[in-house]
């Protein structure tokens, strides 16, 4: 099986000009790799650098040193640290999706449309895409009266479901998911876990951040533990 992600010697710090040039070390010497179809769990205390690492892989943060080699199905190995923006955007469109802790959706778009958005390529696809989206949020137990409401008005748990549905609907090749089960009840949690396992069966590789033991033990093939921005332990489940 091929290595889909190889992080080498990664360093990330924040230089804050507006705080008297304060420099905050966020990640130091981070090295790990992921195989295709593997689910890797990132663990560690709050502030240990889990989300920073995930955002750096997604290129929302720019790494200062090191390499993030991603094996793209279309264009071979791409170093996400140095790849040009256009390439990164193409990968985001076609292969990599990121599901953050917080819902950041465009205002005034209904729940179904938010979820359907990643698979609508042409306007003519919209009806079909909405059907797929509806099925998915139904599976996630979102009440029917919310389907055509705006997610910005939803509760935490409801937003979380929209967020997950939005991330997985396109069946990405590589899924980055930050606390997918945090504000969900036990039943929905199980559904989410099942959905992610489903994706795995179809070949998706998943990088997962969670504090939740239950989610972690049910999903992760491998656990990478972070402390103060360094990897202190890597264990296989």
């Amino acid at each position: 099986m091929a290595t889909i992600l190889e992080v080498k010697n990664l360093r990330k710090f924040f230089h804050l000009y507006i705080l008297n040039n304060k420099q905050i070390e966020a990640l130091t010497d981070v090295e790990f790799s992921m195989e295709e179809g593997e689910i890797v769990g990132l663990t560690g205390k709050s502030g240990s650098g889990k989300s920073t690492l995930m955002k750096t892989i997604y290129r929302t943060y720019l790494a200062n040193e090191g390499e993030i080699n991603y094996l793209s199905s279309a264009s071979g190995i791409v170093d996400l640290v140095t790849a040009n923006e256009h390439t990164v955007l193409e990968l985001r469109r076609k292969e990599i999706t990121y599901c953050s802790q917080f819902l950041k959706v465009i205002p005034r778009v209904t729940a179904v449309d938010v979820v359907a958005d990643p698979i609508v390529k042409k306007e003519s696809d919209r009806i079909l895409a909405r059907e797929v989206a509806t099925e998915l949020i139904q599976k996630l137990g979102l009440p029917k009266e919310l389907w055509d409401a705006f997610p910005s008005t939803f509760s935490g748990g409801e937003q979380q479901r929209i967020n997950i549905a939005h991330a997985i609907i396109s069946k990405p090749r590589f899924l980055l998911v930050d606390e997918p089960t945090a504000s969900l009840d036990a039943k929905t949690k199980d559904i989410v876990i099942e959905l992610i396992l489903d994706l795995k069966k179809q070949g998706t590789s998943v990088l997962l951040i969670t504090h939740d033991e239950y989610t972690l033990s049910n999903l992760a093939d491998k656990i990478v533990h972070l402390q103060h921005g360094r990897i202190v332990e890597q264990t296989y489940a």
Binding site: Y17, T60, E85, T87
Partner: protein, 283 residues
């Protein structure tokens, strides 16, 4: 990797420079963000923008952000031939397969590009619309420029554009002077996309509108972008507009690009001092 991707830009800009007044060889070195000014201390000439280079890919939305006077509008006005350039090259893929510097083409060729390959929406609807013609007539002008000489077809196209931009078709034969600001802006957008251009410039299009109308215009642009896949350059001083519409962003200060990156990276991990200030000022 993939040189194939790198070659399918729709617009490529190299070293675009605009200087007002007579300048010397040192003018560019003596101005810019490090010097904190765009006025040359020796010649007194004003560097509106200098050494601007970027590429734009099909279907991509590029934001240009910066404070007033940073040279944002100058860039798009030069690319839309509203303004003469001092220096620089630009290539447009749909025009002669991107092999010719469009900035040095003849006026007639530039007019062809403006009419067939580009669209522009200005901050002030008066710049993009002729207020003595009806709103349908304004759209018709663009279609006539592209040699559509069939009144019935012109009116059909105009009404479909107006309904797409949510302007009541019943008001097609009214003067835009009698419209609200938001509606004028929609008519302007209809006109700009009338010939299905592969490239659209939006210059501070929501700046003169109140918040609720702003939101609607932004929704409209986003919807059109999704539907038509037009490559766009969005100029704005407003980071929320940039966040909502764009994939990539250039940050401009004193006529230079101080930072460029993916829009979410610019907003969440700004590298340049000026960008950090800008992002931290976001309400």
């Amino acid at each position: 990797m993939s040189s194939s991707i790198k070659n399918d830009w729709v617009l490529k800009v190299e070293n675009l420079t605009k200087i007002y007044g007579s300048y010397s060889d040192e003018t560019i070195a003596l101005t810019g963000p490090q010097r904190g000014t765009n006025i040359c201390p020796i010649t007194g000439s004003i560097v509106a923008c200098a050494n601007i280079s970027f590429e734009l890919y099909p279907g991509e939305v590029l934001g240009i952000v910066g404070e007033s006077g940073s040279g944002k509008s100058t860039i798009v006005k030069q690319l839309f031939f509203d303004m003469e350039v001092t220096n620089g090259n630009a290539y447009l893929k749909p025009y002669k397969n991107g092999t010719v510097n469009i900035l040095t083409e003849s006026n007639q060729k530039k007019r062809y590009m403006r009419n067939h390959l580009m669209g522009m929406v200005y901050q002030n609807p008066r710049d993009g619309l002729n207020f003595s013609f009806t709103s349908g007539g304004n759209i018709a002008e663009k279609l006539l420029m592209a040699d559509m000489f069939h009144v019935g077809k012109i009116r059909e196209r105009a009404s479909s554009l107006l309904s797409k931009t949510e302007v009541p078709v019943a008001r097609m034969d009214d003067l835009p002077a009698y419209f609200s600001g938001g509606m004028q802006q929609r008519v302007q957008i209809s006109k700009a996309i009338a010939n299905n251009p592969p490239l659209l410039f939006l210059d501070e299009i929501t700046s003169g509108l109140d918040v609720s109308v702003q939101a609607k215009v932004l929704d409209l642009i986003r919807g059109l972008q999704r539907e038509l896949g037009i490559a766009m350059i969005v100029v704005s001083h407003d980071l929320s507009v940039i966040r909502m519409l764009t994939d990539r962003t250039l940050v401009l200060k004193d006529g230079r690009i101080v930072e460029r990156g993916l829009t979410d990276q610019i907003l969440q991990d700004p590298q340049h001092e000026y960008t950090q200030l800008l992002v931290s000022s976001l309400l």
